[in-house]
């Protein structure tokens, strides 16, 4: 999202001088002040719809706020802090392990011997993760290791696909530049494949972390022994406590935004040229 916003902001547009007109033009020349007002406008619109919505399927903000208070004061394993901690820990471990595994599998795809394995992993993303439940149960039994394994596997199927496409997009000219400069195979691999694609890999990890939240709720629903947001959502949905469900959904949204921001910050700090590349 950040990439597209930046690129659209830097695209040349002939400013008509009328801010309102620019708002609805393709790549309209909208300044930072006007842009922030557009964002505020959308938030106000969302809140208005939420406050005054005629459909009763969605709890009112006051109900969600009440749910927050109840969950906050709930004791032990049914409390908000405990369940958020359990799921956040699972998410972070899942993102870390799947990122390392996927990077390895994706980068190895430049070696012909490993290409069929990479293709097979990519193909597995079409298979629902619940299809592997029995395998995971046999290998890990119910509990933390099984949840990590399920999440890591599910995320890796998608992460390998997107990471491999980044590597496939490296122009042939880059390889040839390294070749004519006398680089050996490993130098080419590091200088052309690994090092320049790391910023794009962080983008892929950020996207996959968001997808991980969708998987986590399913995995924790299947494996409820340790609690977590997924199991709580399942429990509250069964008893029709929608306010609690929406409270957890808001928490997931907030964590996802923070995660996205952190990964973006890491990218900017570690790979400053990547922001120039985005603007270009």
């Amino acid at each position: 999202m950040e990439t597209s916003a930046k690129s659209s902001a830097t695209l040349p547009a002939n400013d008509s001088g009328y801010p309102l007109r620019e708002m609805v033009r393709v790549y309209g020349a909208v300044g930072g002040f006007a842009r922030s007002h557009v964002v505020i406008g959308w938030i106000v619109l969302f809140l208005l719809v939420w406050f005054f919505n005629p459909i009763k399927a969605m709890p009112y903000p006051s109900e969600v706020l009440g749910a927050f208070k109840r969950m906050w004061s709930a004791p032990g394993s049914s409390g908000l802090v405990y369940n958020v901690y359990v799921t956040l820990k699972l998410n972070i471990v899942g993102v870390l392990v799947s990122s390392v595994l996927s990077l390895l599998i994706s980068y190895l795809a430049v070696i012909p011997l490993f290409q069929p394995f990479n293709k097979f992993i990519q193909w597995l993303r079409y298979i629902p993760i619940v299809g592997f439940n029995l395998v995971f149960l046999t290998l890990f039994t119910i509990g933390w290791p099984m949840k990590v394994a399920m999440l890591t596997t599910g995320m890796s199927f998608f992460l390998v696909t997107s990471m491999t496409s980044v590597i496939a997009g490296i122009p042939r000219m880059k390889y040839e530049l390294a070749r004519v400069l006398g680089y050996n195979d490993w130098h080419v691999f590091y200088s052309v494949v690994v090092r320049p694609t790391l910023p794009a890999m962080i983008d892929m990890i950020a996207q996959n972390a968001a997808m991980g939240w969708v998987m986590i709720t399913a995995i924790e629903t299947f494996n409820r022994t340790e609690g977590g947001i997924g199991s709580q959502i399942y429990a509250y949905t069964s008893t029709n406590q929608l306010a609690e469900v929406y409270a957890y959904l808001l928490i997931i949204g907030a964590i996802a935004v923070i995660e996205d921001g952190l990964l973006s910050l890491i990218k900017r700090v570690l790979f400053p040229y990547s922001t120039i590349a985005e603007r270009a």
């Binding site: 880059k174 400069l181 040229y273």
Partner: protein, 293 residues
């Protein structure tokens, strides 16, 4: 490129006929065919033969001139060792002034069109990194890189990222990247492409200046720009396809004609464009190879 000292760039005519020394590059009857999807074969090059000799006390600047589709890029790739010919061989000097050996990738420097650089390294490290990987001491590489950046007016850009450079600056960095490896043989792929006349002249001066830094320096310019090729080169090799009785081109490009600009008395001439023979050659090439111009 305004920092270029004009007196350094275009050397004057030779006082005596040039003394030709050993062969630096020999392309022996190179052919290149590509299989097509319909089962047929596309012949890009056919019996492509060319020889570049060392000229005493002078660098060599030769041009491979031809229209689009004449096989220039195929020739470049084979010369650089990036592609293997279907038949024939490319030999390069061993550096001992006597023997030749088959060319390998990395023997010949290439400045590709659009000047690819390592976008994740700043300008300074784009020069240091390849040199260090080729075995140069890191401190020596840094010292040499800083000297080159100074000489070519790029000191301010040393810590810039390649994406922050102008086209001309990228071109200079790409050339310097090759020079860092002490390459005497460098291919420039379409160095004048997309430039206005003023910048073409600047690039001509730049190439002449770099070439003149070492008598063994040999620049092979792959271009379709007739005028620039004639101005800068001591030899121009016209690449094209022969035609059959009906005037249809026969598959497979080869060197159709060689213009020895030294023998013509044109090479190294400061006012080469004003000479009648220059206009004649340019017209001749355009009629043969660029009939629509």
């Amino acid at each position: 490129m305004s920092d270029t000292n004009e007196s350094d760039c275009i050397p004057g005519p030779l006082a005596h006929p040039p003394e030709r020394l050993e062969t630096l590059l020999h392309i022996e009857q190179v052919s290149k065919e590509f299989p097509m999807n319909d089962g047929s074969t596309f012949v890009a090059l056919k019996d492509f033969t060319l020889e570049i000799q060392n000229i005493k006390d002078k660098p060599q600047i030769v041009s491979l001139l031809g229209p689009s589709g004449a096989g220039k890029t195929t020739a470049l790739r084979i010369l650089a060792g990036l592609d293997r010919p279907t038949s024939g061989c490319v030999f390069i000097t061993n550096g001992d002034g006597q023997s030749l050996r088959p060319v390998r990738v990395g023997d010949v420097g290439v400045v590709f069109q659009r000047y690819p650089l390592f976008e994740d390294l700043n300008v300074l490290h784009n020069l240091i990194d390849p040199a260090v990987r080729s075995g140069m001491n890191k401190d020596q590489a840094k010292e040499k890189a800083l000297r080159y950046l100074d000489e070519f007016g790029l000191v301010k850009q040393g810590l810039s990222w390649p994406l922050q450079l102008s086209g001309g600056q990228r071109q200079r960095v790409a050339i310097l990247q090759q020079l860092m490896l002490d390459r005497h043989f460098i291919i420039l792929d379409e160095p004048f492409s997309g430039l206005d006349p003023v910048n073409i002249l600047n690039v001509i001066k730049l190439i002449s200046r770099i070439a003149n830094e070492h008598t063994l320096n040999t620049f092979l310019i792959i271009t379709h720009d007739v005028t620039s090729a004639l101005i800068i080169s001591d030899h121009v090799y016209l690449l094209g396809r022969e035609r059959d009785a009906k005037g249809e081109p026969i598959p497979g490009s080869r060197v159709m004609k060689t213009y020895d600009m030294i023998a013509e008395g044109l090479a190294y001439h400061p006012d080469i464009e004003d000479l009648p023979r220059f206009a004649e050659i340019r017209k001749e090439i355009r009629l043969v190879e660029f009939p629509k111009l």
